[in-house]
């Protein structure tokens, strides 16, 4: 290597940009012969393409390029947060030296006047790479990636909020929650900077306009108050991430309440600062980007505080993991939106791009993904369900593994769960409830014939689709029953406290009768609106399942027929031997009841017709 060669690392190259092809080739070749790695371009597009593929140590650029001026390119680079630090040497003709100073103002490291000698160029390059990066200084001066060259902007000659005034200034009152909105739909947080009888001066990220209407929402101890006002002036300087807005408000009772409250807080703060104890509520103004709440005055009721969208940071790892998958594609399945999560994994609404249909995607929980046994269990669930080809059981389509993320795609049920209906307060009427119960019993009978027990029958796992068809979902803890009865494997308690059978709590071997108990408990809840046993904690509920006598269903809902109450209660007998021993028995009893109920319904309808008829006859007379 020649003496005087720049001490660049091998990753750092020279980018030489010039319209003059001959100069480009000649100087490029000369630099290469001195040991430099040189990339050449004649326009900005070509230069950007080189920059995106290479790490460049120095840029040497003509004042005019084929597509833009050298100044434009320099300005562009200085606005790029990662490339602003690349030393930029500007080439200018002898008659344009005066303008070259502009290049230095824009952030160029140096300029060279044509004609150029290779020695001069090498000297400047060496200087450029040896000099400490100027960008570091700039970083210390400003947080925003915006170029310091930006000019200040100020509206209507008003002083900005941060400027010192001779008049008494209110301390920033960060303890008072204030939001502002132009339209009552999007609310942005704001901080009170000054307040008087006429209005309020706020600092906010909402940029408004002089004369525009604005709403100010203040959280008071008595509730939330919304004040209408008009923007009188705006202070927005240096393209800061917040603006100051002076709002003249409508003077009404609400405003007086707000004013009095703010003054009280100020007085308290002043008193505490006088005593020498720093008031926690007084903090330097720092309008942080805050969640922008959105909603048509949903939060405006007295006593309600503005709700912010959930910040995912507070969510568990589990939810953060699921959130990382929304908007992603797992093999042929697009995760469109997140629906919810359970013990085994998260469920997404997905789209099958090959078969063009909506699917439900179930992704294994991160907690379980690390354990081989849990991954096996997840796969087992998929296999179990794939064996169950029944119109009332959600169908399994596919199981896959992307980046070690195990998932399966299954039938998407566009509907509600029985738990949703219960929550809404929709108690089932006898006929509809009977019909659902019969269908589920038949589906679970089919499951049982495949030697499978569900082990987590509950209202949340019973879905009713748009057409009113009932589907059983979530076979996450389902188990194949050992027909020889040799299954002695000990497992923890599996099931949901409100619906679990006594033998499951007791850790005894389970069979179909355990699911029958859970199904009875689920329908007890659906018919009465209350779970069969309730308590302050899971343990209390479990104990009641074991020991407490069930309150007869009709005591809780007298509208339910006594026969149906008896069936549910039999399903929920404490001892499995006293329950129905299979679903066939239940279906038989339920169908008998259903046919009686239908007959009764027919009679009821006939009665109505009979009642209507004489009136018509009277009318026709």
């Amino acid at each position: 290597m020649n003496a005087g060669i720049l001490p660049m690392t091998k990753n750092e190259n020279i980018l030489f940009i010039n319209r003059d092809k001959i100069l480009l080739e000649d100087l490029g070749e000369s630099l290469r012969s001195k040991g430099y790695t040189v990339h050449v371009a004649s326009d900005m597009r070509g230069a950007l393409s080189i920059l995106s593929a290479n790490s460049v140590g120095v840029i040497i650029c003509d004042n005019k390029l084929h597509d833009v001026t050298g100044y434009d390119f320099l300005r562009f680079l200085k606005n790029d947060p990662l490339r602003e630090k690349i030393p930029f040497i500007f080439l200018v003709p002898i008659n344009d030296q005066g303008r070259a100073i502009n290049a230095l103002k824009l952030g160029a490291f140096d300029f060279i006047v044509y004609p150029i000698t290779i020695e001069d160029l090498m000297g400047r390059i060496n200087e450029a790479v040896l000099m400490p990066r100027s960008a570091e200084k700039a970083e210390e001066q400003q947080i925003s990636p915006v170029s310091p060259a930006m000019t200040s902007v100020e509206n209507s000659g008003e002083e900005v909020a941060n400027e010192k005034r001779k008049s008494k200034r209110v301390h920033p009152l960060s303890s008072i929650r204030v939001d502002v909105s132009r339209n009552g739909v999007f609310w942005l947080s704001a901080q009170i900077k000054n307040i008087n009888r006429e209005g309020v001066f706020l600092e906010t990220s909402l940029l408004s306009k002089t004369g525009a209407e604005i709403y100010v929402k203040v959280a008071l101890p008595s509730g939330t108050s919304i004040i209408k006002g008009q923007v009188k002036h705006i202070a927005f300087k240096n393209y800061n991430p917040s603006a100051g807005i002076g709002v003249e408000v409508e003077k009404n009772a609400q405003w007086i309440e707000v004013l009095q409250y703010v003054i009280t807080v100020i007085k308290k703060a002043d008193a505490s600062s006088f005593k020498g104890s720093p008031a926690a509520s007084i903090m330097p103004v720092n309008v942080q980007p805050a969640p922008v709440s959105c909603g048509e005055n949903k939060n405006t009721a007295k006593g309600a505080t503005p709700t912010a969208p959930k910040v995912k940071l507070n969510a568990s790892y589990e939810l953060r993991f699921y959130q990382s998958l929304v908007g992603k594609q797992l093999d042929n399945y697009k995760a469109v939106s997140f629906i919810g999560s359970g013990a085994m994994g998260g469920v997404f609404e997905g789209w099958d791009i090959a078969l063009e249909r909506t699917v439900a995607l179930k992704v294994i929980s991160y907690r379980l993904a690390a354990k081989e046994s849990s991954r096996d269990m997840f796969i087992k669930e998929a296999r179990l369900v794939s064996r169950l080809d029944h119109p009332n059981i959600a169908h399994m389509y596919h199981i896959g593994n992307v980046n070690e993320i195990l998932y399966f795609a299954m039938e998407y049920i566009d509907g509600v769960t029985m738990a949703d209906l219960i929550k809404k307060g929709d108690k089932f009427n006898t006929l509809k409830g009977l019909s659902y119960l019969i269908t589920i019993c038949e589906a679970l009978d089919f499951v049982n014939q495949n030697n499978i027990i569900h082990r987590d029958i509950k209202p949340a796992n019973i879905m009713i689709n748009e057409k009113g068809i009932v589907k059983i979902v979530d076979f996450g803890v389902a188990k194949i029953v050992d027909v020889n009865g040799d299954d002695n494997k000990k497992e923890g308690i599996v099931g949901s406290p409100y619906y679990i059978s006594p033998e499951a709590i007791d850790g005894r071997q389970l069979d179909v009768r355990s699911d029958i108990y859970s199904l009875g408990a689920s329908f007890y809840h659906a018919f009465t609106g209350s779970p069969p046993f309730d308590g302050t904690n899971a343990e209390e509920v479990l104990t009641k399942h074991m020991e407490q006598e069930l309150i007869p269903l009709r005591k809780r809902n007298p509208k339910v027929s006594p026969a149906l109450g008896k069936i549910i209660e039999k399903m929920m007998s404490k001892q499995p031997e006293k329950r129905y021993q299979d679903y066939k028995g239940i279906v038989k009893d339920l169908k008998g009841l259903e046919s009686r109920a239908q007959t009764f319904q027919k009679l009821k309808n006939a009665t109505l017709i009979f009642r209507v008829k004489p009136k018509t006859e009277v009318a026709s007379l």
Binding site: S55, V56, V68, R75, F76, D80, L82, R83, E136, I143, S144, P145, V146, N155, R182, V185, L188, S205, L206, L207, K209, I234, F236, Y239, N240, P241, S242, A243, V287, Q288, P289, A290, P291, V292, S293, C294, A308, P309, V311, K312, L313, Y317, F321, Q323, S324, V326, G327, K328, Q329, K334, A335, V336, F338, E349, Y366, A369, N403, I405, G415, E466
Partner: protein
């Protein structure tokens, strides 16, 4: 396929731990923040939280800016647990904040989740997105004579805006949602100056407000006309103009957000659309909650 990840300012211990966790499927390129010049080829950026918070926040902001609205996850990782709030990191542009004190399984799965590419739109989603794309280019061209070239679209799960200035408008009616446009200042100033017929040095708060509000108003207004008689027809509200980065916009649950990136003279801006039709594909009003 190996995924290329930029490990910025990561110590050797951190790199080794990450390699151990992620295995062969990733290629970690060790970079210093001062040395890195472009993020073009990286699927993910992992930055170690060394130094004071102010420096870290600034670096995250610059990295987010340099992603130019592309879906590049920025993961802040630390060997120690964070004792203070992680929210400033997220509002600065980090996608996730992790520490090696957290369960290994969680870190692994979260990183793997972020490594999966963002999905592209479905055909039915493209039906309405195309209209927004066409109208955005038209509005920019009509008002500024600038050519806005649509570059890419992807879906994301939260409506967070990273940029210097944004226009947001609420959509309601047969379809409901939010439309937002976000610029960094250099491009915003060029556009506003051209729209308003003033020099960039003479732009003031009123002009910024009016310019950005007008752009979002015109895009939503012209798209609204395209949707007359279609399930995506909506009414528009008064636009809001927001300055600063990291604002999270509340949006309808379970509604994905499409982020469309446009290029104007080598600079980029983003249009975010969160729109859900109340009318389902079969033509009936959806009455059942999913």
């Amino acid at each position: 396929m190996t995924e290329k990840i930029a490990a910025i300012d990561c110590g050797q211990d951190t790199v080794n731990t990450l390699k151990g966790m992620m295995g062969e499927e990733i290629q970690l390129a060790i970079e210093s923040f001062e040395g890195i010049q472009n993020l073009q080829n990286y699927r993910m950026i992992i930055i170690e939280g060394n130094g004071n918070q102010r420096d870290i926040l600034q670096r995250i902001r610059k990295l987010r800016y340099a992603c130019y609205f592309r879906a590049v996850p920025i993961i802040l990782i630390n060997r120690q647990a964070y004792t203070d709030s992680v929210e400033p990191y997220i509002t600065s542009g980090a996608s996730e904040v992790l520490s090696f004190n957290e369960p290994v399984g969680a870190i692994q799965q979260i990183l793997k989740g972020y490594l999966i590419p963002n999905r592209k739109p479905l055909d039915e989603e493209m039906e309405y997105l195309n209209s927004f794309i066409k109208n955005t280019s038209n509005v920019l061209n009509t008002t500024t004579s600038l050519e806005a070239v649509f570059k890419e679209v992807y879906f994301t799960n939260d409506f967070r805006i990273f940029g210097d200035i944004s226009g947001i408008i609420g959509l309601s009616g047969e379809a409901e949602g939010i439309l937002g446009i976000t610029f960094y200042w250099p491009l915003a100033k060029t556009i506003i100056a051209k729209m308003m017929g003033v020099d960039e040095d003479h732009i003031n708060a009123d002009l910024i407000h009016d310019g950005v509000a007008e752009i979002i108003n015109m895009i939503s207004g012209s798209t609204k006309k395209d949707f007359v008689g279609k399930p995506y027809h909506f009414e528009i509200s008064l636009p809001s103009v927001i300055v600063g980065s990291g604002h999270q916009i509340g949006h309808a649950e379970n509604t994905p957000i499409a982020v469309m990136i446009f290029e104007v003279n080598y600079q980029y801006f983003a249009l975010q659309v969160c729109l859900k039709s109340k009318i389902n594909r079969k033509g009936s009003i959806t009455g059942i909650k999913k």
